[in-house]
């Protein structure tokens, strides 16, 4: 009986009694969600354009951030370091396309998935060889202060860095949306995503398109890497944040850019609310590792293609 009370009634009582805390939890969740979305975006871009589940995206984030911070530590101006890193990621995209994707064209998705794991291993070793395994703090002047916002029902803590991440994410999504909708390259990308063969037949060069997509994913990885690096310092453990992006991905759908953002917000807010109101009182906490996955799993039961994914049509 008491358990039932704790499950069904008490959390809501708490929410009403302490609205300030609820708002804090929600804000905390949404801002965490944005950080997940930043990583998930990279996955979506590549999956959308080439149907490849790029397992190396987590390492991309780390690799981009390592290069950026490494260059800065060598005394390169941040903006220049940013530009050079984009160059490196583009070069990487080119190499991946030439050496990995072209020879494997038309293979099963699982083979391509495996190949991206190979890329992940390579970059893991390569990045550490170049820059070593130490923690490197990112100092690019991202404002990181606690802002206390006096709402009518209590004081609410907001991190300026979190807000900044939100702005960056919004900017990225808008830019990408504009890019996809209004530039010739963007249109070509969408055509390829729709149907490879049809795109080829109207003269869209498939290979260049893939290089572009991987380069854009590299750029998104750099943005995510800087934001995460500012939070945790650039270190090897950054590559595991991909794990937080995966439930976002299936919730939002593998092929939808807005899905990645909205999925991230849902996952972030959901897991924080669950952890604070149900996880800690009932399950002794630390539920955030699995909560998003369980929710995503249950959700997929009803909508197997995710929130915004393209409807799966099966024919014999």
């Amino acid at each position: 009986m008491e358990t039932l009370y704790l499950i069904f009634i008490d959390p809501f009582v708490q929410m009403v009694v302490e609205p300030a805390f609820l708002v804090e939890v929600l804000i905390g969740g949404l801002t965490s969600g944005v950080m997940y979305s930043l990583v998930a975006l990279g996955f979506v871009l590549i999956f959308k354009a080439s149907g490849i589940f790029n397992f190396a995206q987590g390492i991309f984030v780390l690799f981009a951030a390592l290069n950026f911070v490494g260059l800065m530590d060598l005394g390169v101006h941040p903006i220049l370091a940013f530009v050079i890193t984009i160059g490196i990621m583009t070069a990487l995209a080119f190499v991946v396309d030439r050496l990995v994707l072209r020879p494997l064209v038309n293979q099963d998705p699982i083979i391509l998935f495996m190949a991206t794991i190979g890329i992940a291993f390579f970059l893991e070793g390569f990045g550490e060889t170049l820059w070593g395994g130490d923690v490197r703090p990112v100092r690019v002047g991202i404002p990181d202060e606690a802002l206390f916002w006096e709402a009518g029902f209590g004081e609410i803590l907001v991190q300026s860095a979190d807000l900044f991440a939100g702005v960056i994410a919004a900017f990225l999504v808008t830019t990408l949306a504009l890019f996809f909708h209004f530039t010739p390259v963007g249109r070509a990308l969408r055509a390829v995503a729709d149907d490879h063969q049809a795109a080829l037949s109207v003269g869209i060069p498939l290979n260049n398109i893939w290089v572009i997509v991987w380069a854009v994913a590299g750029f998104v990885a750099l943005a995510a890497g800087i934001m995460w690096g500012a939070k945790l310092g650039v270190q090897f453990a950054l590559s595991t944040i991909a794990l937080k992006a995966l439930p976002v991905l299936i919730l939002g759908g593998f092929t939808s850019i807005p899905g990645a953002i909205i999925g991230g917000l849902i996952v972030g807010a959901g897991e924080k609310v669950f952890e604070n109101y149900w996880g800690v009182p009932l399950l002794e906490g630390a539920t955030e590792d699995w909560f998003a996955y369980i929710v995503a799993m249950i959700f997929l039961f009803f909508r197997p293609q995710g929130l915004f994914g393209e409807k799966i049509i099966e024919r014999v």
Partner: protein
């Protein structure tokens, strides 16, 4: 095409059949160094490994080894993976006439090696990690965890808090927070805290941090902001520490009331948080910085590591670890023959009879860097476990207290209880220590 495929098959076969070569080389005291300079825990692994290896190098270069017996150190990188750690141990244990002692530096690998090393008669020195109840030397003859265990550390941290608040009585009615990695390592001190809480009348909230990423802490800190604990104690590892320090700074928690255990308070943990980390405290059992005599001897010596981490907390800890091994070898030579290579079994005897007082440590040039230690057959933790509290001042860790002794009267019964359980489960008859 077929030819190409067959060549590939040949390559595959060659790799699969890769015979395991045997390297036999010069005489010396062999030290297998299980290290993790790569992977997610590399930031902690690199300085530890450097300190460990450098100290042996120093002894070889400066003193010509111990009574002329030089150390041969061979590293094996295992990336903090348990199975690779076991493989590394097996690969190295028989080289150069047999391993002297092994320090795995990971909870999982230590647990996996406890029985194995006992069977191989190679002592494990798990300095402040691994299985706490191994402090009962009757059940674990080959495992040593001096100068202090997690449980001793937990009591000493509480003792420190009591000192700060004005005595053990002041703990009554206080509310603390305990943040830990959701993993057997993080949960280790909970039974100890439970006993202390009951004994001294304080309460504490438990905040586990998910293991897979370690960075998922928003909820924890929101709760802490709400409950406003008097002190926060942290049992963290890897990227979790840096995140926690940063989040604590973000919610404007008084950093001087935030205490990490000895794996949660090194340079790597505070640097990402920048100035916010100033005031953060940590337990330790070794000094930080390069202001010790031993470092003068290292000036200008060639062949040492050059990662720029000399004097960091973990580097010095690696050195202390090596110093214990060197002194044990010295002691073993005194008993079993000076200038001769000693076996793991003989080093085990030496560990068990190690008695380093302040004078000995002074003679080594390590005063302030390592604690005095007296190990007995009964007590592999050392008879006087104690910790130091250090504080981050924005540039370096400063020791701010004298040695704070652990409450051995609380810890010892727990150790014996757990060791007895282990002995029962494993059909071990504890030896007698008289």
């Amino acid at each position: 095409m077929l030819t190409k495929k067959l060549v590939t098959a040949g390559v595959a076969a060659a790799i699969a059949a890769g015979a395991i070569g045997v390297a036999q080389a010069e005489e010396g005291q062999f030290i297998p160094a299980l290290t993790y300079r790569t992977g997610p825990f590399a930031p902690g692994g690199i300085p530890t490994a450097n300190g460990y290896v450098d100290y042996f190098h120093l002894i070889n270069e400066r003193d010509g080894g111990v009574n002329g017996v030089k150390f041969i150190v061979e590293e094996c990188e295992y990336g903090y993976k348990t199975d690779r750690g076991v493989e590394c141990y097996d690969r190295l244990k028989d080289k150069h006439g047999g391993a002297t002692a092994v320090s795995p530096y990971s909870t999982g690998t230590t647990y996996a090696l406890i029985d194995k090393a006992t069977a191989d008669k190679i002592p494990i020195l798990s300095m402040g990690y691994g299985r706490t109840s191994a402090a009962d030397g009757r059940v674990f003859p080959y495992v040593f965890n001096f100068p202090a265990t997690y449980w001793s550390q937990a009591t000493a941290v509480i003792q420190y808090i009591a000192n700060e608040m004005g005595g053990l009585e002041a703990l009554k009615g206080q509310r603390f927070a305990f943040i830990f990695l959701d993993h057997p390592y993080g949960k280790e001190p909970i039974p100890t805290f439970d006993i202390l809480a009951e004994k001294f009348g304080f309460t504490y909230d438990k905040y586990p941090v998910p293991f897979a990423t370690g960075t998922e802490q928003k909820s924890v800190w929101l709760q802490i902001r709400r409950t406003k604990p008097a002190y926060i104690i942290m049992w963290g590892w890897g990227v979790m520490n840096a995140t926690a320090v940063k989040e604590a700074a973000n919610i404007k928690f008084d950093m001087s009331k935030f205490i990490g255990n000895w794996w949660s308070a090194s340079e790597q943990d505070v640097l990402p948080a920048g100035d916010g980390a100033i005031g953060y405290k940590g337990a330790t059992f070794n000094g930080a910085g390069t202001g010790y005599k031993i470092f003068e001897d290292m000036e200008g010596m060639s062949g040492l590591s050059d990662d720029g981490d000399r004097g960091t907390v973990l580097y010095n800890r690696g050195m202390v670890n090596a110093a214990y091994v060197v002194e044990a070898v010295r002691l073993a030579q005194e008993k079993y023959g000076k200038g001769k290579r000693v076996t793991g079994e003989q080093v085990r005897w030496a560990f068990e009879n190690l008695d380093l007082n302040a004078e000995d440590i002074e003679g080594l040039g390590l005063t302030g860097l390592m604690p005095t230690t007296k190990v007995t057959c009964l007590n592999h933790e050392g008879t006087n476990p104690a910790i130091l509290i250090q504080q981050w001042n924005g540039k370096a860790w400063e020791i701010i207290t004298d040695w704070i002794p652990a409450m051995t009267d609380v810890v010892r019964p727990l150790i014996e209880q757990d060791a007895a359980q282990y002995a029962k489960d494993n059909n071990i008859t504890p030896r007698t220590c008289s």
